[in-house]
């Protein structure tokens, strides 16, 4: 089936909408769908899921094994059926197939929002630790032992803080 708009490409997005009690069927190719802004999650339907499932099935026959989440035993077929994942680890297990899906439904594919405070602190402390370690190496090379000693103390304090954060 060809795209209704450009009449060139194969239609990949098919949906039905009801406008004033009248049913309209729309078939679009990927680029026209994107242009029309109809590839957002509101249209996150079976077609998209089937598309993903199909590509994964190919990958699976190529390697001869079905991908199964080691965390929860969830498979591609389950995702195709439910449209939901099994556990947090599924995101790593099925990352390849998911990336394309995430691109079509979100603004980006990298999280830029809120980060749990403990993680944020841990990240900051880790960076601080690296920075201090570099300074220490420099101090040792230049035989500035007084500074090296104080840096060593600082590193110890930072490491303790990091342990505290991790323990929480």
């Amino acid at each position: 089936m060809l795209c209704m708009l450009c009449k060139k490409n194969e239609a990949k997005f098919h949906y039905t909408q009801v406008v004033k009690d009248e049913m309209q069927k729309v078939d679009l190719c990927e680029s026209c769908a994107k242009q029309k802004g109809v590839n957002h999650p509101g249209f996150f339907g079976a077609d998209l899921l089937l598309g993903l499932g199909a590509s994964q099935e190919m990958a699976q026959t190529a390697s001869g094994v079905e991908i199964r989440c080691p965390g929860c035993g969830f498979t591609q077929a389950d995702f195709k059926k439910a449209g939901r994942l099994g556990c947090a680890q599924c995101y790593a297990t099925f990352s390849e197939g998911l990336e394309g899906l995430l691109k079509t439904m979100h603004k980006g594919i990298k999280h830029v929002g809120k980060v749990p405070a403990a993680l944020r602190q841990g990240r900051d402390l880790n960076e601080r630790l690296k920075h201090l370690q570099k300074k220490l190496d420099k101090a040792v090379t230049s035989e500035d032992f007084e500074q090296a000693a104080s840096l060593r103390d600082e590193i110890k304090v930072t490491k303790d803080q990091l342990d505290n954060v991790a323990a929480r």
Partner: protein, 369 residues
């Protein structure tokens, strides 16, 4: 504690006011969170769900914001109780279908509600009357920050908060507002506005969220994208769009009154006529007509009539709320009779609509009344 002793009567909740509440009935921000190392509720075995509930529920109950909250497992709530919570927009229909292994924690003001083991382990939401998205976000952000100290969230630095459905991934945030848009519906501008809002990556849904119809000219507008954008930006973007929708709705009302006042007055007058005089009426018809009466109140057609009364009727005429007032089980037809009785009684003291300052062409028609 009994749920009904805990819930505020609708006569009180309908009196809560907020900015722009003429058009924005309520604001809501919800966050989806999951525990690390536990399968998502839809995939977890019952024993796992029960275990997760046992970890999450005490953590939620211990929050200072939820001291004295109503906390219950879903298997301890009857179908009628669950439906009442749905009609009040406190839980989703999906959550109402849950049983053991799922739970609910709700504060006294009904401004914070945590669903445990809905689609995700945690669905926490802050609710505010009128347009108060920022306030709702700040409130739920604080709850989340306190909870993260007690619970081990499934979080990835790359993908953010990991959720059962990829549509919620990242921030797990859904910012939404419930809007009353009779002006745009009457002016036949609503499909146009819905499609432009859709193009901005926002969803428009009916009264009870996903897959429901827009009864009573009430629409829910919410963000769709949750990954690749910071929460305050998502909140602000929706806020901006809502301000524009408010302006469009006010414009539509003003233009209708100027160009087609008789059509508006006709709708409102008939709505009042039926609501105040019917002897049998379905909840769907009731909602659609109450919407027109609400518009009439906004336009000053009901001196002495208040929006709070209409908003209260909006809630108490719904099937579960109506059923709750009677001990015997009612069938739909019986409810329609009792609903009409209640409406006639409650509208007894609201006098018929009085269109302000009729135009010159209206004078002859007025004499005939």
């Amino acid at each position: 504690m009994n749920m009904h002793d805990f819930l505020s009567p609708p006569v009180e909740t309908a009196r809560r006011t907020g900015p722009h509440d003429r058009i924005v009935m309520s604001s809501r921000v919800r966050l989806a969170r999951n525990l690390r190392g536990v399968a998502f509720p839809g995939w977890a075995k019952k024993s796992e769900r029960v275990k997760a509930l046992e970890i999450i529920r005490p953590a939620v109950e211990s929050l200072p914001q939820l001291i004295g909250a109503f906390s219950e497992t879903m298997d301890n709530l009857g179908p009628l109780d669950k439906q009442i919570l749905v009609e009040r927009h406190l839980i989703s229909r999906e959550h109402a279908a849950k049983s053991s292994g799922s739970g609910l924690v709700l504060n006294k003001e009904e401004s914070l509600c945590v669903m445990i083991n809905e689609e995700d382990h945690l669905r926490m939401q802050a609710l505010r009357p009128g347009l108060q998205l920022r306030q709702a976000w700040m409130a739920i952000d604080q709850v989340d920050s306190e909870l993260e100290r007690k619970l081990d969230y499934a979080f990835s630095p790359e993908l953010g908060y990991l959720t059962a459905c990829p549509t919620n991934l990242g921030t797990g945030i859904r910012v939404s507002a419930m809007l009353h848009l009779p002006g745009m519906v009457l002016a036949e501008q609503i499909t146009q506005i819905i499609s432009s809002v859709n193009k901005l990556g926002l969803a428009v849904r009916g009264l009870y969220g996903e897959g429901t119809e827009a009864l009573g000219n009430v629409f829910q507008v919410s963000n769709q994208m949750t990954l690749g954008e910071v929460e305050p930006d998502i909140v602000e973007r929706l806020n901006k769009v809502l301000m524009q929708i408010i302006e469009h709705e006010e414009n539509a009302r003003a233009v209708l009154l100027e160009k087609k006042p008789k059509i508006v007055y006709n709708h409102i007058g008939r709505a009042y006529g039926i609501l105040a005089n019917a002897h049998s009426i379905t909840s769907k018809e009731t909602m659609n007509l109450l919407s027109l009466m609400r518009l009439g109140v906004d336009l000053g057609e009901f001196p002495g009539g208040e929006r709070a009364l209409i908003d209260e009727l909006f809630v108490i005429t719904q099937p579960a709320h109506l059923q709750k007032q009677f001990t015997e089980k009612l069938v739909a037809e019986e409810r329609d009779l009792l609903r009409a009785d209640m409406l006639r009684d409650r509208l007894r003291h609201v006098s018929r609509p009085n269109p302000k300052a009729p135009g010159p062409g209206d004078a002859t028609l007025d004499k005939r009344n």
